[in-house]
């Protein structure tokens, strides 16, 4: 990625000259960028949480310790929480903006599809993060999700892979932890890079 040729990733993302039209705020309201920014904040604070969070039976206890005892622990956790909510909202608004400016039309279809996948994954990430609290409410939310999977034919297996053992007593957070912090977060990170790359490559706004 080192060379600044027109084909290199960085060259696409950061061309040296840009069109004036692209500068106008009304064009995008920065919503895509804000979503990405939220993701960066989430990654940083998420990694910080990893140092103390204990998935499994100790989930709730480790979080309440982090929240109340550790210096800046509550701050890190709040940042992670609010950035997560903001990300869902800004991804959604970004989608509204894309439909409004009709940017989903051919040539950009692939990016529209990527975007919808990203929206879905972000919502699921927010949900899975909430389950990590391991409290009663999050246990109930996990139970409902689990029951929805179990109700599908052959869904028992899926439910086990996503949620762990059936009927956990509010707090079997290990599986969801792996999904939230590694698999889903990784997939969202990767898809975002792809999304930005497509904007330059296949989008209507030609490489400049």
């Amino acid at each position: 990625m080192g060379k600044q040729g027109n084909n290199s990733f960085m060259g696409h993302i950061r061309p040296r000259q840009i069109r004036t039209g692209a500068l106008r705020l009304r064009a995008t309201f920065c919503l895509g960028g804000f979503s990405f920014l939220a993701f960066i904040v989430l990654t940083i604070t998420g990694v910080l949480l990893l140092f103390y969070y204990q998935p499994g039976d100790r989930a709730f206890a480790s979080l309440s310790e982090l929240n109340s005892v550790l210096p800046y622990g509550g701050f890190v956790r709040s940042l992670h929480f609010w950035a997560g909510q903001m990300m869902v909202i800004s991804v959604f608004m970004h989608m509204v903006r894309v439909v409004w400016s009709r940017a989903y039309r051919p040539l950009r279809e692939l990016n529209w599809i990527t975007g919808v996948v990203l929206f879905g994954l972000t919502v699921i990430l927010d949900y899975s993060g909430y389950l990590l609290r391991g409290g009663q409410e999050s246990g109930a939310a996990a139970t409902v999700g689990q029951a929805l999977f179990t109700s599908l034919p052959g869904g028992q297996a899926l439910a086990t892979v996503f949620f762990g053992q059936p009927s956990p007593l509010n707090g079997s957070t290990l599986n969801m932890f792996v999904w939230h912090a590694f698999i889903l977060a990784g997939a969202v990170g990767f898809l975002q890079l792809f999304h930005f790359w497509r904007i330059r490559r296949g989008g209507g706004v030609r490489p400049l």
Partner: protein, 142 residues
């Protein structure tokens, strides 16, 4: 080209490699799915000394479990406190004499029959076995 005489072209080797990886990858699905589902059928079990719990005629929760116990006419009865709608943990409210679900508001009467809300089937009883002075409780396999 110096390698023209070789048995396989690079292209063929590459494509063979790709196919092998694909087959290996698909082949892994079976063991991986079993690995991930290892605890699929694990059902909750609990044990309590018969003498330890003063059983009442009202339902009482057993520690941090979903088992609730009461003294019935012919011995100890146990309820598995999972809502039959989507599985949330129900709890017995002695004042209203009802089981209440926190998730979508289903209610069940004291014997577990649904009286309100999205749940339509009754709560499920847990199996109780008495052995060597202990009560063994088994989560019902639904």
């Amino acid at each position: 080209m110096t390698f023209d005489q070789t048995l396989y072209s690079r292209r063929q080797v590459l494509s063979l490699g790709r196919k092998t990886l694909l087959v290996l990858g698909i082949g892994c699905l079976y063991p991986v799915s079993h690995y991930l589902r290892a605890k699929e059928n694990q059902l909750a079990v609990a044990r309590i000394a018969s003498s330890e719990m003063p059983l009442k005629i009202h339902w009482q929760r057993l520690g941090q479990t979903r088992f609730w116990l009461r003294q019935g006419n012919d011995g100890v009865e146990a309820m598995w406190a999972s809502c039959t709608h989507l599985g949330c943990e129900v709890s017995y409210d002695p004042e209203q004499d009802l089981w209440l679900c926190p998730c979508h508001g289903s209610r069940f009467n004291r014997d577990g029959q649904p009286v309100q809300g999205p749940a339509v089937s009754p709560l499920v009883r847990a199996e109780v076995k008495e052995k060597d002075g202990f009560l063994y409780l088994h989560q019902p396999a639904v």
